[in-house]
């Protein structure tokens, strides 16, 4: 059953990074950062992408914007701005788009980075940082550009006179607001938020999360929200994709993920999250060992060496990513028969 209102459709996305060795820089192996990934994002929704370090979530986000070249797969973006004649949208494949088309696509897809300290050029004023996209795309000049920048700063809760200042004069939370204003400058449809609050203090995190929620309502934005913090994702996302070693372990609505998880990794991940309640007692499922290397993932199901439900088939046969019905996707042989522990909601 195809879902409606799809804005972005990712099919079979792969990104392999070569591992080179020796004098001739021969490729000896590949880091399978993203290893066959299918997902779609609906217009106006927030899709959370969670997983531990090295699972490929950032690579996925960057591949979608083609900031890095995918090895294989299709990324179909349905653009309203580019629609011609009677069409309601024009479908563009990001992976094969040529230069001119890519530039047009940049107006529709933007990114907010994790580290507000390294993602802003320290030599540029805030005005020129936020106004640069308008300049590059030739959308506004002179006084018009200045007005637009002021409006953008106001939208993210900064003052117009901040335009003339430099990034070092701002706190972490304010810098992240500048990054958000820059992403909004071209009036995009989709924003990839790559760990946008991880580097911020807790009391500031909430300010930025609320801002992102407000802007989504105001501008009808669609977010791909990449994070390692499940609590944040539970709060902000409509649907969640859980990644493990370059593949999606499970993808479903946030509600379903937390009340009826179907993948053992999801169960373990949720039980490991520290909950700010001293009386919270949920059975901690301690996963043994570390995430295997993406250069040489284990045979069969990638999760089987750490899975407490693993059976013989898991060691030899890789499970297929499939829909259990109602668009609840999971990569596990035993998704239907396992009775996994949900998060109790207090």
């Amino acid at each position: 059953m195809p879902a409606d209102n799809i804005l972005l459709d990712v099919k079979g996305l792969q990104k392999y990074f070569p591992v080179r060795k020796g004098v001739f820089r021969r490729t000896v192996a590949h880091v399978k950062a993203v290893d066959g990934l299918d997902m779609f994002i609906r217009e106006g929704e927030t899709l959370g992408l969670v997983g531990e370090s090295g699972c490929g979530k950032t690579t996925t986000g960057r591949s979608i914007l083609r900031l890095i070249e995918p090895t294989a797969g299709d990324i179909l973006f349905r653009s309203k701005k580019m629609a011609e004649g009677g069409e309601t949208y024009k479908e563009v494949n990001v992976v094969t788009a040529h230069r001119k088309m890519m530039k047009a696509l940049r107006r529709e897809m933007q990114i907010i980075f994790q580290d507000p300290y390294s993602s802003l050029n320290p030599r540029m004023t805030v005005g020129s940082i936020v106004g640069e996209p308008l300049l590059v795309h030739g959308l506004a000049k002179g006084a018009e550009r200045e007005d637009r920048v002021k409006a953008l700063l106001a939208a993210v809760g900064l003052k117009p006179d901040h335009m003339k200042r430099y990034p070092h004069e701002f706190s972490g939370g304010q810098r992240q607001r500048i990054g958000v204003a820059r992403a909004l400058a071209l009036d995009p449809q989709l924003i990839v938020c790559d760990e946008p609050v991880s580097a911020l203090d807790v009391s500031i995190q909430a300010q930025v999360i609320n801002l992102l929620e407000d802007l989504q309502g105001e501008f009808g934005l669609t977010y791909l929200f990449i994070a390692h913090d499940l609590s944040v994702v539970k709060h902000i996302a409509d649907r969640v994709a859980v990644m493990y070693l370059g593949k999606i372990a499970e993808l479903c609505t946030t509600e379903e993920l937390f009340t009826a998880p179907k993948h053992p990794y999801t169960e373990a991940l949720m039980s490991a999250v520290p909950v700010p309640d001293p009386d919270w007692n949920v059975e901690r499922i301690l996963l043994e060992g570390d995430v295997p290397s993406p250069v040489a993932p284990p045979p069969g199901c990638y999760f089987h060496p750490r899975c407490r439900y693993a059976k013989d088939i898991c060691k030899t046969e890789a499970p297929v990513y499939r829909d259990l019905g109602d668009l609840h996707f999971v990569t596990c042989h035993f998704a239907e028969s396992l009775n996994l522990q949900p998060v109790r909601s207090g």
Binding site: S231, M270, A272, P276, P278, L286
Partner: protein, 326 residues
């Protein structure tokens, strides 16, 4: 029974731009075989407090301006602030009776020595064992912290271990001399959640096994809720609230404590909207004259602008520094 009593501790830094009052009058007690959680955001002074106990504050620019750190052992009391940080007595305590682990295990391990060598250093220094016995002890410690194949790992270098394994090795090093206090400064912040869960479990098990106390410093309220017996909440170099962990989470009195609780998303609760604390932590050179939290406080009154409130008992064993409860 108290193990460490910190009284009126003030640690200042004299920089070119002015004086930073990183720790500005802090009192707390770490009980025997208990875990004290210290919570607060960046710059609240939680790490400097720990460094003051360890005698690791760099002098200059730092200086312990005032206060006592009383260390109880064998029925005697000793004031750590009176000891020369580089002297014989302090060196006999540091790493031996009080040990510390840090946030980033990669930067606190020496990359050119094997894990075993680094663990053995403390054992040879404090326990006067010979090299062979020290190595056996190091292997035993690595096994105790759950590192597989410790006989092999002992000869490996830090870069050969994963992040979680490195933090385990750090813990092995810290526990090798059976300290009575382990200070853990954001020990799991750099780790993934599933690895964090392993390390926290390990720390709890070791605390019981070695009869040690832990001072656990973190900004993560979730971790504190699961680890601590008692909690102190710090803001701008002062303690704003202190009590046992249940009181702090279920009956927090200080507006800053309440603000922190309301601003974080939790797996346990449905929140339509987060309630952030407005504004930001003030610049350390421009600390407010009265209560440090006043500019961000939703309940601020006139008196808060001019006078600093003292810690006051609001319930048995529960203190807070706020004019609302005067």
């Amino acid at each position: 029974m108290p193990l460490i009593e910190v009284r009126g501790l003030k640690t200042y830094f004299y920089t070119e731009d002015g004086i930073v009052r990183a720790v500005d009058g802090v009192d707390y007690v770490i009980e025997h075989e208990k875990t004290l959680g210290v919570v607060g955001e960046s710059g609240c002074g939680k790490s400097v407090t720990a460094l003051s106990i360890m005698g690791l504050v760099q002098i200059p620019p730092g200086k312990i301006e005032d206060g006592e750190i009383l260390f109880h052992r064998d029925g005697k009391v000793m004031d750590l602030t009176k000891l020369n940080p580089k002297g014989r007595e302090m060196r006999a305590i540091r790493g031996n009776e009080i040990a510390m682990i840090f946030q980033e295990p990669m930067t606190s391990l020496n990359p050119v020595y094997t894990i075993g060598n680094q663990i053995m250093e403390a054992i040879i220094l404090h326990q006067k064992l010979n090299k062979k016995n020290a190595k056996n002890k190091a292997i035993e410690m690595l096994r105790a912290v759950g590192i597989p194949l410790p006989e092999q790992r002992v000869d490996e270098y830090p870069h050969q271990l994963s992040g979680g394994m490195r933090q385990r090795a750090m813990i092995a090093m810290a526990m090798s001399c059976n300290p009575s206090l382990l200070i853990a400064d954001e020990p799991t912040t750099a780790l993934d959640v599933t690895i964090q869960a392993q390390v926290l479990e390990l720390m709890n098990a070791l605390r019981a096994e070695f009869n040690a106390s832990i001072q656990f410093i973190t900004h993560d309220l979730g971790v504190i809720a699961g680890m601590a017996d008692d909690v102190v909440v710090m803001y701008l170099g002062r303690i704003v609230e202190a009590s046992n962990v249940r009181e702090i989470f279920h009956n927090g009195k200080h507006p800053y404590t309440q603000g922190l609780m309301n601003s974080i998303p939790s797996l346990a609760a449905e929140k339509e909207r987060l309630e952030p604390i407005k504004g930001v932590v003030p610049d350390p050179f421009e600390v407010p004259a009265g209560c440090g939290f006043e500019p961000r406080c939703p309940h601020a009154m006139e008196i808060c602008k001019t006078k600093m409130p003292d810690l006051k008992e609001v319930a048995p064993g529960h203190t807070t520094a706020c004019w609302l409860y005067e």
